[in-house]
């Protein structure tokens, strides 16, 4: 064998894996060949060096660590053990807790405005009454409501109140007098035309109209007007009527009067007359209607004077007998009686009363003067539709709708000048 063939067997020769003959042949060659002998020495040295590498001891506690893991693998810990025992597993639990707390906090933070809003929605019931009593709102009467369904009104009212409270919350100083005035404006004045504000609508729908009728002639219209009819409207309107007497800035008054005229129009139109029958169910709750709800030439809203605060002369004039005697000269006996009853009822119940009377056209001013002795005329309006009515024009009589508002509680200022158009 040549050197190349010999060197292929050197590794086996080193490991003594060759048969005796082959091993002897290689041994002979190595003795003779220095190159192959040197190669053999190098391989033997490599083997000696590798096998001479010292044994390294495993780290201390190696067996225990292995067995700990083995036992853990044999008996896998339950979920709660994984969560609470080792630190490296506890970290996810803590992270989960942090995440949960963060999510909960975010949820509460987002829910808080809703809760505040809900509180604001409920709270206004009492606080608004206070506001209405404390602050004076635009004049309005409770009658003439051709409002839609009650539920819609409540919804609109709630919405409006919530909005007002939000506005007041934005002001940040709701207790200070200037801000309170702004709130009043927001409630009664600044949004008088907003359809979603029922308060403004109520303020608007409050005019009363008088229609003069001569005492001598009792036309069919007068007979119609004289027939008694009672209607009640909702209590909140009475409350609003109370607040409606409070002084407000002049533009608000004007707006209210305009809207009142519009509301009066709706009452006077034939369609509205038809509608007034079902809507009278609402009217039954707030006040009393004496007489037949007919189209009126004039509407008057009067606020009864407070007897205690009046001077003696006025008090005498307010004496039922005397007032009745004076009005007898202008109205029929039945209508005068209705007026007296309505006035007494308004004083006793604190609810507005509505009376239709018929007087002679030329006695309208005199009738107003008599009413002025009894009460403050807070709103006056005439009805164009009625004036355009040819029959009405030809008649010498005026039909007047008088809304009698109960006297104000002491301390509340009463507007001295009626708004008229």
């Amino acid at each position: 064998m040549n050197c190349e063939a010999i060197q292929r067997y050197l590794s086996d020769f080193l490991d003594k894996n060759l048969d005796v003959e082959r091993a002897q042949e290689i041994k002979d060659h190595l003795t003779a060949c220095s190159l192959c002998s040197e190669e053999m020495a190098s391989l033997a040295e490599c083997q000696r060096l590798v096998s001479g590498l010292p044994a390294v001891e495993p780290p201390a506690g190696f067996t225990n660590r292995v067995m700990a893991e083995v036992r853990e693998a044999a008996n896998p810990p339950r979920l709660w053990e994984r969560l609470f025992l080792p630190l490296r597993i506890k970290i996810p639990l803590q992270a989960t807790a942090v995440v949960l707390i963060a999510v909960l906090a975010a949820y509460i933070y987002q829910k808080e405005p809703l809760q505040r809003e809900a509180v604001l929605t409920v709270q206004p019931e009492s606080s608004f009454k206070k506001q209405e009593e404390t602050h004076n709102l635009a004049p309005s009467a409770a009658q003439g409501r051709t409002a839609p369904s009650k539920s819609k009104q409540v919804a609109e009212e709630t919405k409006a109140r919530t909005q007002e409270f939000k506005d007041s919350a934005q002001l940040k100083e709701p207790q200070s007098p200037p801000k309170a005035e702004e709130q009043n404006k927001g409630i009664a004045g600044s949004q008088p035309d907003a359809p979603a504000t029922p308060r403004a609508q109520n303020q608007v729908r409050s005019p009363a109209t008088l229609s003069p009728t001569p005492l001598q002639e009792k036309s069919s219209a007068a007979t119609e007007a004289a027939s008694p009819r009672l209607e009640q409207s909702s209590p909140p309107v009475g409350v609003q009527a109370k607040g409606a007497l409070a002084p407000v800035p002049q533009p608000e008054k004007e707006n209210a009067s305009k809207d009142a005229a519009a509301a009066g129009k709706s009452l006077l139109s034939p369609e509205a007359r038809e509608r007034s029958a079902p809507s009278s169910l609402d009217a039954l709750r707030s006040g009393t209607v004496v007489g037949v709800a007919l189209p009126a030439d004039h509407e008057l809203a009067i606020r009864l004077k407070e007897p205690v605060r009046d001077d003696k002369a006025t008090g005498d004039r307010l004496a039922p007998g005397l007032a009745q005697a004076e009005r007898r000269s202008l109205t029929s006996q039945e209508e005068a009686k209705n007026l007296d009853q309505a006035r007494e009822r308004a004083t006793q119940t604190g609810q507005s009363q509505t009376v239709w009377v018929t007087i002679a056209r030329n006695q309208y001013e005199l009738f107003k003067k008599e009413l002025a002795d009894l009460a403050n005329i807070e709103a006056e309006s005439s009805t164009p539709d009625r004036h355009n009515d040819a029959v009405a024009k030809s008649s010498n009589q005026l039909r007047i709708k008088v809304t009698i508002l109960p006297p104000l509680a002491s301390g509340n200022p009463v507007p001295s000048q009626p708004s008229s158009r």
Binding site: N17, V50, P54, E57, F62, M67
Partner: protein, 192 residues
């Protein structure tokens, strides 16, 4: 009390029957060989400790697959080689391998001249460096044969190759190691 004298096959049988403590006998019996094999393949003590631990844990988890057709040590070595090869690949891809100079080499005789000790340590580091530079297949076969003195047949079984292939590969691996250690041999001859 653990019976240290019982054979591997018996320990394995007990472990397979649920006696976890019997596995400790196997660990104590083979931990040094496995650890050294892994350590020489990786050249890093800490990595070796971690991989050796994984080897035993893996062996325990798959001990129900051991059917006793081969020696337990052969089966365990195969697991060790696979784990070490995987780790060695990941280490190679992560960074250039270098000789660990962590002082873990144990000098056999502390009574020897300190200069000799230093020389020995240097030689061991060179050999380890040469092993690290070898192809993993070559390193494995050299370590199994020359370091662990595993018979050819077992090596063939561990590597799942014929015995003849083991011989030829061993020859090739030794040639590669000789080439890698050639500068050392050259210097040694000059010095002598």
């Amino acid at each position: 009390m653990l019976a240290e004298g019982i054979a591997d096959a018996e320990c394995v049988r007990r472990v397979q029957q649920g006696d976890t403590d019997s596995f400790e006998v196997l660990v104590r019996r083979h931990q040094k060989a496995i650890f050294n094999l892994v350590y020489r393949l990786l050249g890093n003590y800490d990595e070796a400790a971690e991989v050796a631990q994984e080897v035993f844990l893996s062996a325990f988890k798959s001990i129900h697959q051991f059917r006793g057709e081969a020696n337990f040590s052969t089966w365990l070595y195969r697991i060790g080689l696979n784990h070490a090869s995987t780790r060695r690949k990941s280490l190679n891809s992560a960074q250039q391998r270098h000789i660990p100079l962590d002082g873990t080499e144990v000098i056999a005789d502390s009574a020897v001249d300190p200069a000799k000790n230093i020389e020995h340590k240097e030689i061991q580091q060179r050999v380890q460096q040469a092993l690290n530079s070898l192809d993993p297949e070559d390193a494995r076969i050299i370590l199994l044969r020359d370091l662990q003195d595993v018979p050819y047949e077992d090596v063939a079984e561990m590597l799942d190759i014929p015995v003849g292939t083991v011989k030829s590969r061993l020859h090739r691996a030794r040639q590669a190691l000789k080439t890698s250690l050639a500068p050392y041999f050259h210097a040694n001859r000059k010095a002598s």
